[in-house]
């Protein structure tokens, strides 16, 4: 393909300029047109694609997240079950008194995920009340922007949260790798952050903070969507790379910080930029890594 790409002048031009979507659209359509859709190939295509077309993104996400079955004949059945599950969950939440008509859908979805994942059973009332300000709700909002159906939103959110939970679970193991990436890019920053103790997988660490909300609110929406594209396609390492990119972006401010608390506060309240610079750097790194 590389040879073909190199030969394709327009695509290269587009790619250099930053608009690299023509190929993906064309490459995705046959994949999506298969019956049943080959999820592996689709994921591979999504992973390798520079940017997923926005029109296919919900479908791709649903397919990759197994919200929508790859076989079209099973879609009806599965969708019905999904809807039933959503309804049952909401009914259960209402029955338990955690959800009223006034409760925002994102919170309802979040509580439903907690309920279905067995986490709500172990929570007490105070913790349940605190969930109204949970960071995962931003993910639900992001999903709500992309999807129309309640069951879809619900299930996509649940899947994403499951992904995030898995990423969080993997985060401690990825820390050395992350540190290594950071050292490769900027050793002084890595040493400084190690000295400050910012790079940890603790409950209130910036990395965990970023991961559990999938960089929603940290990065611009387009970057988050692209990130999630990679994530649903099975590229878990995009998250640490994005974190490294973010750290590198704020390296100057971080180097100025001598207090771990200040650095932590700085990283916890990163204001999203308008450009995809951070994620592009991460994507490039990820691409380079995959090439190697």
């Amino acid at each position: 393909m590389n040879s073909a790409d190199e030969r394709n002048f327009r695509s290269q031009y587009y790619g250099k300029v930053g608009f690299r979507r023509g190929d993906e659209k064309r490459s995705l359509e046959p994949l999506l047109g298969e019956v049943p859709v080959d999820a592996g190939r689709l994921a591979q295509a999504v992973r390798t694609a520079l940017q997923l077309p926005a029109m296919y993104r919900p479908l791709v996400w649903k397919l990759l997240l197994k919200v929508q079955p790859c076989h079209p004949e099973a879609a009806e059945f599965v969708t019905a079950r999904r809807r039933e599950t959503c309804d049952d969950t909401e009914h259960m939440l209402r029955l338990l008194g955690h959800v009223t008509d006034d409760t925002p859908p994102a919170l309802v979805h979040w509580l439903g995920w907690l309920l279905n994942s067995g986490r709500l059973v172990t929570m007490d009332a105070a913790q349940i009340d605190d969930q109204s300000s949970a960071p995962q709700l931003q993910v639900a909002e992001l999903v709500a922007d992309l999807f129309d159906g309640a069951a879809e939103r619900c299930w996509v959110s649940w899947r994403l949260w499951t992904l995030a939970a898995g990423a969080l679970k993997l985060l401690p193991g990825q820390l050395p790798w992350l540190t290594a990436q950071l050292e490769r890019e900027q050793p002084a920053l890595a040493a400084h952050l190690s000295q400050l103790g910012v790079l940890s997988a603790e409950r209130d660490s910036p990395l965990r903070h970023w991961a559990e909300r999938l960089f929603c609110g940290i990065l611009p929406g387009s970057s988050v969507e692209r990130l999630v594209d990679r994530l649903v396609a099975g590229a878990e390492r995009i998250l640490p790379l994005t974190a490294v990119s973010l750290l590198l972006t704020h390296s100057r401010a971080l180097m100025a910080c001598t207090d771990p608390a200040d650095a932590r506060r700085l990283l916890l309240h990163v204001q999203p930029e308008d450009t995809d610079r951070v994620f592009n750097w991460a994507l490039d790194s990820w691409t380079k890594l995959n090439k190697v």
Partner: protein
């Protein structure tokens, strides 16, 4: 001090044993009192043996009888307990011997009055019985002196041993008969003095006998005077006595046997009996001993009564005396009786004062009406006062009557009338009042003042003058001052004090200030002797020309002259004022001296009589009343004496000094001995007077009942005083003493008797005072207890108030409790309701969980169906695969067949001609059998056909492969589809499982009590917030 013959001063000898009694007696009488005390102690030591030194006792008694030594008497009186028998025998001997009978009676009298323990023996001892001796003496003796002494001793003994003397009751009555007989029919040789004494003794004896044994006495009288012929004797002797005793209650309630029974006296002491006896006397003075009980109340009432009498207050005593005078039917005895009664009353009263110096006992008002009822008979017509004056005239003598009347009022300015026995003065005042009532009263006052002034001049002290000046300077406070001083003495005195004011005040209003008249006598004294006004104090007891004496000698000349003098003095006010003005310098010099003793000035004057020197040092030491001094022989002494005595009559209520007189009594006895003339020197006079003055600071103006006897006892002066000037005063004294010794002895006896009565009364008063004090203490305690009760009642009220408060609080608290209970009940009901709601919710939850379970079951069923479908699909798949396998086998077989067929075809071509028929059976039979023969070499046609068949077969094979691949693809799609469906189903199943788990967990928490607490917040309300927002549910949950 030496008394009698033993008075000589002997050189002090060293202490010797008692083997030389003479020397010891001499040493006993020596001047050194310490040494004498030592000797006395020595005597007592020797007498104190178990058996007693009988010889020493006898010696002492002999010594006393012969010498009358006072110290010896002291020794004798302190001994006798151990050797009473010897003493009684010795007394018996003395009483038997006619010569020593008087001394024996005297000694016996001392013993009886001392009342030692062994005194009972003289009554109870059968032999020698002193009582019988006394009876015998009275019955058979002719000497009046002894009779009187014995009678007085019996009078003393009777209350002491009332039971023991019952044995001698007939003797007692016989003695009474004898006495009354002697009184009623006096022998001619009996002097008036003796008659007087006899009257006194008889009346006392009668009162005592009547009070103690009335029924027996009446029966005795009935028995002895029952005959008609003895009636005149009875009327003459007994009736006057009977008429003046009170009706005895025992005459009604008792009998001869009851009144002599020992039970009657069981609870009574001697003083009780004495007081009771005096109570039965109708004589106010005799009975006034009881007034100590009534105290000030009776005194006040008596005073009121006397005030109501107005000017006749002076006559009160007069009339009382008249009553007694009527009883005794003798002018002389009238005076004696009155004086004796007065002494009894006055002394009793004063004894009470001495016994209770702080306060007088509370009055017992029951006595007062009795007294009031008894008084009226004493208020006789005033004409009796004339009789009284006659009586006194008979007492004193016609020659002295006039001066006596003028001198009858001498009292100190403070000691004003109010004396019931100023009968002489009342005589005089009544005479004056008849002329002019007010002037008579005034004259009385004036004479008093004049007398005081004269006395002051006679006393010769600047003190008197200074006192006069002081009184002139401040007349008004005088009554109050006197009242203050009088109040100290007794309640009896208060009438005097109160009576003083109305007496004085008219004088002030009518005649000008009394002090103006005060100096009048002093000016008269000045006229008599310029030395008095010149400031030189009158000194020298031997100077007969002292102003007072001269004044009184002049005044004694004529009564009318005295009256004139008084009227002149009242008219001479301006000169007296001037004189008082002249006197003012004395006030500045002597004010301090006189101010301290304004009351005793007249007495000082009286005590300053020069004859006092004759009394000797012993009198100075013991400070006897001036009366004793007045009894000494001096030419003008009689006047002074009479004046003095009558003044005492007017002052009978003034305080006395009983103890002083006690010590002076032996001196009176000693007077019988000739006083040594050298002991009296003019140089020693001032100290004597000082000592008297000192005595009088203690209120020694004692009016003694027996003092009037002195006047009687004194014989008329041997000569006119002025004519006796040539004689030596010592000779006069000796002569006088020798003449008056028997009388003095009688006086002494009477004095001792009166003193004994006073002591008894004092004893009684002390008892009463103790009782009163106890009563008062009880009253104080009662008052204190009442006060405490008040305080406690206040506390109780406070406690009650607090109790009410607490009760109210309790009621309020109860109401609050009830309200709280009600509230709690409401709340409980509410919570019950909530509980029901909860239970309903729980039921709903259960229903929901049942629904969930049903759904679960449904899901399970669906799952089963899905699995069934899956199994079905798998079986279909397996079937398809099997079919595909069989198909491939078939294909392989077909291929084999084709190959064989081809091979057969190739073989048939060469063999077709040879054995075309052989190929057919081989086609339908065993191929391998057909193949076994080598195929014939194919010809071209066969080859072609074979090639066609092979290509067809290949085509079929490809078709079949295509079909198989298509089938595989379909199978894969189907697998994917079903897998996804199964996965979706599984996810749904997982979700439902979680839901069910959640529901079960919640249900478990709701069901179990501990879990409700943690999770119940979500239960009652739609949301946890809503549930938490309701505190009532929280409380409810807590309550549950």
């Amino acid at each position: 001090m030496s008394v009698g013959g033993g008075g000589g001063v002997r050189p002090p000898s060293p202490a010797e044993p008692l083997d030389d009694p003479g020397l010891m007696f001499r040493r006993l009488e020596q001047a050194d009192t310490d040494e004498a005390g030592h000797i006395k102690e020595l005597f007592r030591e020797n007498l104190r043996g178990p058996t007693g030194e009988a010889w020493l006792l006898n010696g002492l008694i002999d010594y006393y009888v012969s010498t009358g030594s006072a110290r010896c008497l002291e020794i004798l009186l302190t001994c006798g307990d151990g050797n009473s028998r010897a003493l009684i025998e010795r007394l018996h001997q003395l009483l038997k011997s006619p010569e020593q009978r008087g001394a024996g009676l005297r000694l016996l009298g001392y013993y009886v009055r001392k009342h030692p323990v062994w005194l009972r023996k003289i009554v109870t001892q059968p032999s020698p019985s002193i009582v019988k001796d006394l009876f015998r003496i009275i019955k058979s003796e002719c000497e009046v002196q002894c009779i009187i002494s014995a009678a007085l001793i019996l009078v003393i003994l009777m209350p002491m041993f009332p039971v023991a003397l019952v044995d001698f009751i007939q003797d007692l009555f016989q003695v009474l008969s004898r006495l009354t007989q002697m009184v009623s029919s006096p022998s001619t040789h009996l002097s008036q003095t003796h008659q007087l004494h006899l009257h006194v003794a008889t009346y006392s004896y009668f009162v005592r006998v009547y009070a103690m044994y009335p029924c027996n006495l009446l029966s005795y009288l009935r028995q002895h005077y029952g005959q008609r012929d003895s009636l005149p004797v009875f009327n003459r002797t007994i009736r006057p006595l009977l008429q003046h005793v009170r009706m005895h209650p025992l005459l009604v309630t008792g009998s001869n046997s009851t009144e002599t029974s020992p039970h009657r006296w069981q609870r009574k002491e001697t003083h009780d009996i004495v007081a009771e006896c005096s109570h039965f006397s109708l004589d106010i003075l005799e009975a006034s001993a009881m007034d100590n009980l009534s105290g000030p109340l009776w005194s006040l009432s008596a005073h009121d009564e006397a005030d109501a009498l107005g000017p006749t207050d002076v006559g009160l005593g007069d009339q009382e005396v008249l009553g007694i005078h009527d009883i005794l039917c003798s002018p002389a005895t009238f005076a004696a009786r009155s004086a004796a009664g007065e002494a009894e009353g006055g002394t009793g009263c004063e004894t009470a004062v001495e016994a209770t110096p702080e306060s007088t006992p509370a009055p017992t008002p029951t006595v007062t009406p009795q007294r009031d009822l008894e008084n009226p008979p004493l208020l006789r017509p005033t004409s009796a006062s004339v009789q009284a004056s006659h009586a006194l005239a008979a007492l004193v003598g016609p020659k002295q009557t006039t001066p006596t009347t003028t001198d009858s009022t001498p009292t100190s300015p403070q000691k004003k009338p109010a004396a019931p026995f100023r009968f002489i003065e009342s005589d005089h005042s009544q005479q004056q009042q008849q002329q002019h009532p007010f002037s008579g009263r005034l004259g009385q006052v004036l004479t008093e003042r004049a007398d005081s002034g004269g006395g002051a001049a006679g006393g010769g002290g600047q003190q008197e003058r200074a006192a006069l000046v002081e009184e002139a300077a401040a007349p008004a406070p005088l009554p109050s001052v006197s009242g203050l001083r009088d109040r100290r003495t007794s309640g009896k005195l208060s009438p005097i004090k109160l009576k003083l004011a109305p007496v004085v005040s008219p004088v002030q209003f009518a005649e000008g200030p009394p002090p103006v008249t005060r100096p009048v006598p002093r000016t008269s004294g000045t006229s008599g002797s310029s030395s008095a006004s010149g400031g030189a104090p009158w000194r020298g007891p031997g100077t007969p020309s002292r102003p007072a004496t001269g004044d009184w000698s002049d005044g004694a000349a004529d009564h009318s002259a005295e009256d004139r003098e008084v009227s002149d003095l009242t008219r001479l006010q301006p000169p007296t004022a001037a004189t008082s003005g002249n006197l003012t310098p004395f006030a500045s010099t002597t004010a301090q001296l006189t101010q301290a003793h304004p009351l005793r000035l007249p007495v000082t004057a009286a005590a300053a009589i020069p004859c006092r020197s004759a009394t000797g040092d012993r009198e100075e030491e013991d400070s006897p009343p001036p009366v004793l001094a007045a009894s000494l022989p001096q030419s003008r002494l009689d006047f002074d004496l009479v004046r003095h005595m009558t003044r005492y009559y007017s002052q009978h209520v003034l305080p006395s000094r009983q103890h002083r007189r006690t010590s002076s009594c032996p001196d009176v006895a000693a007077l019988t001995e000739p006083a040594p003339a050298p002991a009296v020197t003019p140089a020693r006079q001032p100290p004597t007077r000082r000592s008297d003055t000192g005595c009088q600071t203690e209120d020694t103006h004692h009016p003694s009942a027996y003092e009037h006897l002195l006047t009687v006892a004194l014989p008329p002066p041997p000569a006119v005083p002025h004519q006796q000037v040539t004689l030596s005063p010592h000779q006069l004294l000796r002569e006088h003493v020798s003449q008056t010794m028997p009388n003095a002895r009688l006086m002494h006896e009477l004095l001792l008797y009166e003193r004994y009565k006073r002591e008894v009364h004092a004893h009684r008063n002390r008892r009463l005072f103790d009782r009163t004090r106890a009563t008062r203490r009880l009253e104080e305690e009662n008052r204190e207890l009442k006060r405490q009760v008040e305080v406690m009642s206040v506390d109780v009220a406070e406690c009650n108030r607090q109790l009410q408060l607490v009760k109210r609080q309790a009621v309020r608290a109860g109401e609050e409790h009830r309200a709280a209970a009600l509230r709690l009940e409401h709340r409980a009901a509410e919570e019950c309701r909530l509980r029901e709601q909860l239970e309903a919710r729980l039921e709903e939850q259960r229903r929901a969980s049942d629904q969930l379970a049903a759904q679960l079951r449904q899901q399970d069923e669906q799952l089963q169906q899905a699995r069934c479908q899956l199994l079905d699909t798998e079986r279909q798949l397996a079937y398809s695969q099997e079919k595909a396998l069989r198909k491939s086998e078939l294909e392989a077989r077909v291929l084999e067949l084709e190959r064989r067929l081809l091979m057969v075809g190739q073989l048939r071509q060469p063999v077709s001609g040879v054995a075309p028929s052989a190929a057919d059976p081989a086609a339908g039979g065993d191929p391998w059998a057909q193949l076994e023969p080598p195929p014939p070499p194919p010809d071209e046609e066969g080859r072609r056909r074979a090639e066609a068949v092979a290509s067809g077969l290949e085509q079929q094979l490809r078709d079949r492969e295509l079909t198989i691949s298509e089938l595989r693809r379909l199978m894969e799609a189907m697998r994917v589809r079903h897998h996804e469906q199964i996965q979706a189903m599984d996810e749904r199943y997982q979700a439902v499982k979680q839901h069910l788990q959640m529901a079960e967990t919640r249900l478990l928490r709701v069901s179990e009590p501990g879990g409700q607490r943690s999770n119940g917040a979500e239960l009652p309300a739609p949301t946890g917030k809503a549930a938490r927002a309701d505190p009532g549910t929280w409380d409810l949950r807590d309550a549950i």
